[in-house]
C-alpha cells in the first residue's frame, strides 16, 4: 500500500469516504475547515455521496441524524463552539440509537476562545456533553495514521453499538501533514431493520426519543447503560510507551502525548526513566490498565493542554494508589518538548 502525505483534516475526510461515509453536513469553523472542504470536493465523486453545507451546526447534527436513520454512514465535524451547538443532536442520536461520527478539532476555549490547538473539550466529550444519561465513544488520535485508522474504526463501532462516536483531535492534529497508509475498510454490518426507508408493503416503523411513560423511559435508560458497560469492557484502547523500567509515567493524549514523547526522548538520553501512558479512547477511559500500572509505578504526571480535565479520570483510575502531579497549558498554548522536558525533569528529581 502506498503512503500518502496528507494533512490531518484531509486524512479524516479520506478515511471517512473510504469507510463508506456517504453523508456529510457541516458548517465552517476554524481550525477544521479543510475537512468540510475536503468532503465538499470528494463526496461529489463518491457514489451516492451527499454533502450539505448546513445553515448551522445545529442543522448539521440533525441532518446527519436524519441520514443515519435512512441507513447511511454519516459524519459531521466542527470545533469547540460548534460542538457545543451540536450537543442537543448528539444527545438525541444517543437516545434514538443512531450511529454517526462527530469530529471535534479542538481550539482554545471557553467561549469563542481562539483558533489554536487546545484540549479543553475533554469534559464535554467524555461526559456526554448534552443532557441526559448517555455516553459517546471518544477516540483521541495521536498521529495522522491514527486519524485514518480510528476514523474507520469509529464508523464500525458506531454501527456495532448504534451510538454516536467522536473523533477528538485538535488544531495541531488537523493542520499537520504526515504520511498515511489507508487500511482496507471492513464491510459494513448494519441491519436493515434499523433503517427507516419507507414501510413498503410491511409494517411501519418509528424512531423516537420521547418516552412519556417513566416505565419505558427508565427501561430505555438502563438499556443504554448496559450498552455503555459492554463498550467499556470491550473497546478500551491505550498505548504504553517505554514504561517497562519507568519510575515516572506521563499520562497524556493526542497532541500532548506527542509533545510528551519528544520530552521523554530527551530525558531518556539523560538516563531518566520516564514512560508514557496514552489513552486512545478517552471514553471508555482505560482505567483498569492504568490502575494495574500503579502496581509497579508510584509516580504519574498528567499533562494536558487544559487546566486539568483528564486529570480527574486519572485520579479516579488510580484511586489514591499513586502520586499524581499535573502540568497544564490551557487556552491554545502549546509547549515545546524542551519546555515539557524541564517540567518533567523537575518532578522526576523531586521523586527520585
Amino acid at each position: 500500500m502506498n503512503k500518502i502525505l496528507m494533512s490531518g483534516n484531509n486524512v479524516i475526510g479520506e478515511a471517512a469516504i473510504r469507510a463508506g461515509c456517504r453523508f456529510y453536513a457541516g458548517y465552517p469553523i476554524t481550525p477544521q475547515n479543510e475537512l468540510t472542504e475536503y468532503m465538499a470536493e470528494h463526496m461529489r465523486n463518491a457514489e451516492g455521496g451527499v454533502f450539505i453545507q448546513s445553515e448551522s451546526e445545529v442543522a448539521a447534527i440533525n441532518m446527519i441524524a436524519g441520514a443515519a436513520a435512512a441507513g447511511v454512514r454519516v459524519m459531521t465535524s466542527s470545533s469547540g463552539p460548534g460542538i457545543s451547538l451540536k450537543q442537543e443532536g448528539i444527545s438525541s442520536m444517543a437516545a434514538q440509537e443512531l450511529p454517526g461520527i462527530i469530529v471535534n478539532i479542538m481550539r482554545g476555549g471557553p467561549g469563542l476562545g481562539n483558533i489554536l490547538p487546545s484540549q479543553g473539550d475533554y469534559f464535554q466529550a467524555t461526559r456526554g456533553g448534552g443532557h441526559g444519561d448517555y455516553r459517546t465513544i471518544v477516540f483521541a488520535p495521536g498521529s495522522c495514521q491514527e486519524l485514518a485508522d480510528l476514523t474507520m474504526d469509529a464508523f464500525d463501532l458506531a454501527d456495532k453499538y448504534r451510538t454516536p462516536a467522536m473523533i477528538l483531535a485538535d488544531g495541531m492534529m488537523g493542520q499537520m501533514m504526515e504520511p498515511v497508509i489507508f487500511k482496507k475498510p471492513k464491510p459494513r454490518q448494519y441491519p436493515e431493520k434499523f433503517m427507516l426507508r419507507g414501510a413498503g408493503s410491511g409494517k411501519s416503523k418509528f424512531i423516537r426519543g420521547l418516552l412519556l411513560d417513566p416505565v419505558d423511559s427508565e427501561a430505555h435508560n438502563w438499556k443504554l447503560a448496559r450498552k455503555y458497560e459492554v463498550i467499556s469492557e470491550n473497546e478500551t484502547r491505550c498505548e504504553e510507551h517505554r514504561i517497562d523500567d519507568a519510575k515516572l509515567v506521563i499520562v497524556a493524549y493526542g497532541t500532548a502525548a506527542r509533545i510528551a514523547k519528544g520530552a521523554i526522548k530527551r530525558l531518556r538520553s539523560h538516563d531518566m526513566k520516564i514512560g508514557l501512558f496514552r489513552p486512545i479512547t478517552l471514553w471508555p477511559f482505560p482505567e483498569m490498565r492504568l490502575r494495574t500500572l500503579s502496581e509497579k509505578v508510584n509516580n504519574f504526571l498528567v499533562f494536558e493542554m487544559s487546566t486539568g480535565q483528564m486529570l480527574e479520570d486519572v485520579r479516579l483510575a488510580l484511586q489514591g494508589y499513586a502520586d499524581i502531579e499535573f502540568h497544564g497549558r490551557p487556552g491554545g498554548a502549546v509547549p515545546t518538548p524542551a519546555e515539557l522536558a524541564n517540567v518533567i525533569a523537575r518532578v522526576y528529581e523531586q521523586k527520585d
Binding site: 451527499v50 441524524a65 435512512a70 434514538q96 427507516l196 419507507g198 414501510a199 410491511g202 418509528f206
Partner: protein
C-alpha cells in the same frame, strides 16, 4: 354492491387521538393520511413529526416516522430526502417549531429548494406547553406569557410564514388554508395533495400552512374557535395560494447536485 364512500384511512392507525376535543391536529392528520392513501404512497412515505402537540404523530400515522428535535424537522427531512430521493418526505410542524426555534432550519430548507413538503399548523399559541405566546400569536391576543395581550413594543409582530416563505426563490408551492369549515377542510386536503404531488414530480419545496383550532388554550368552544379563525385569524393570516410554480417548466430538481 354498496360503494364505500367514507372509511378510516389506511395510513392512519386505529389509535384514539390524544389531542384535546376540537383540536385541528386530528383533522389535518386525517387529511394527510387520506392523501397518502389516495396517492398510493404509504410504502414510500417518511414523516418527521415535531416537538409539540404532534410529537406523538407516529402513534397515528401508519407510515415510517422519525421524531425530530424541536424545530429541526426540516434539517432531518432534508437529509432523509437527499439520501432517499424517491421517497415522499414530509415534516409536520407547529408554529413554535417552524417560526421560532426552527426558523433557521425551515427557512434554509425552503431556500435550498429541498424537495420536501412541510405541513405547518398555525394555531397562534403554544399548545403542548400550556398556552404561551407563539411567534404567530396576534397583536393583543392573550396567552399565558402575554397576559395583557401581545404588545408590539415588547413582543414584536406575528410572523407571517406563508408570506415570507413564498418570497424565497427555493419555494415552489406555498398555500395557506384553514380547517374551520367543511370548505376549508376540503381546500386544505387539496393543498396537501398538491404539495405531495409537487414533491413526487420533483418540483421542489412545498409548504401548506393550516390555520388550526386550539379551543383549550384559546379558551373558546369548538364552534367559537371556528368563528375565531374565520373572523380574526384569517384577517391577520389571509388564506390563499401564496406561490404556485408547479405548472412552470424549468423549475425542476435538476439543479440538485
Amino acid at each position: 354492491m354498496a360503494k364505500i364512500v367514507f372509511k378510516h384511512p389506511e395510513s392512519l392507525k386505529e389509535n384514539i387521538f390524544h389531542y384535546c376535543p376540537g383540536c385541528g391536529h386530528s383533522i389535518v392528520h386525517r387529511l394527510v393520511a387520506e392523501v397518502i392513501d389516495e396517492m398510493g404512497i404509504r410504502g414510500i412515505t417518511i414523516g418527521v413529526p415535531p416537538a409539540g402537540c404532534a410529537v406523538l404523530a407516529y402513534n397515528y400515522f401508519d407510515v415510517d416516522m422519525i421524531e425530530a428535535l424541536h424545530g429541526r424537522g426540516p434539517a432531518m427531512a432534508t437529509a432523509i430526502k437527499r439520501c432517499l430521493p424517491d421517497r415522499l418526505v414530509f415534516s409536520y410542524q407547529g408554529d413554535g417549531d417552524l417560526a421560532a426555534i426552527g426558523i433557521a432550519e425551515s427557512f434554509h430548507a425552503a431556500n435550498r429548494g429541498e424537495n420536501i413538503s412541510v405541513i405547518f399548523i398555525n394555531n397562534a399559541v403554544y399548545g403542548m406547553t400550556g398556552g404561551q405566546m407563539a411567534p404567530t400569536t396576534m397583536l393583543n391576543q392573550r396567552s399565558t406569557t402575554t397576559p395583557a395581550g401581545r404588545k408590539q413594543a415588547v413582543d414584536g409582530y406575528p410572523v407571517k410564514v406563508s408570506e415570507i416563505f413564498s418570497r424565497l426563490d427555493g419555494a415552489t408551492y406555498v398555500e395557506r388554508c384553514a380547517v374551520s369549515s367543511p370548505t376549508g377542510v376540503n381546500k386544505t386536503k387539496k393543498a396537501i395533495r398538491k404539495a405531495f404531488q409537487c414533491q413526487m414530480a420533483g418540483l421542489g419545496f412545498s409548504l401548506v400552512e393550516v390555520l388550526s383550532l386550539c379551543p383549550t388554550n384559546w379558551k373558546l368552544s369548538s364552534v367559537d374557535s371556528c368563528k375565531y379563525i374565520d373572523e380574526v385569524m384569517s384577517k391577520v393570516f389571509p388564506p390563499g395560494v401564496y406561490k404556485d410554480q408547479t405548472g412552470q417548466s424549468g423549475k425542476t430538481a435538476e439543479a440538485r447536485p
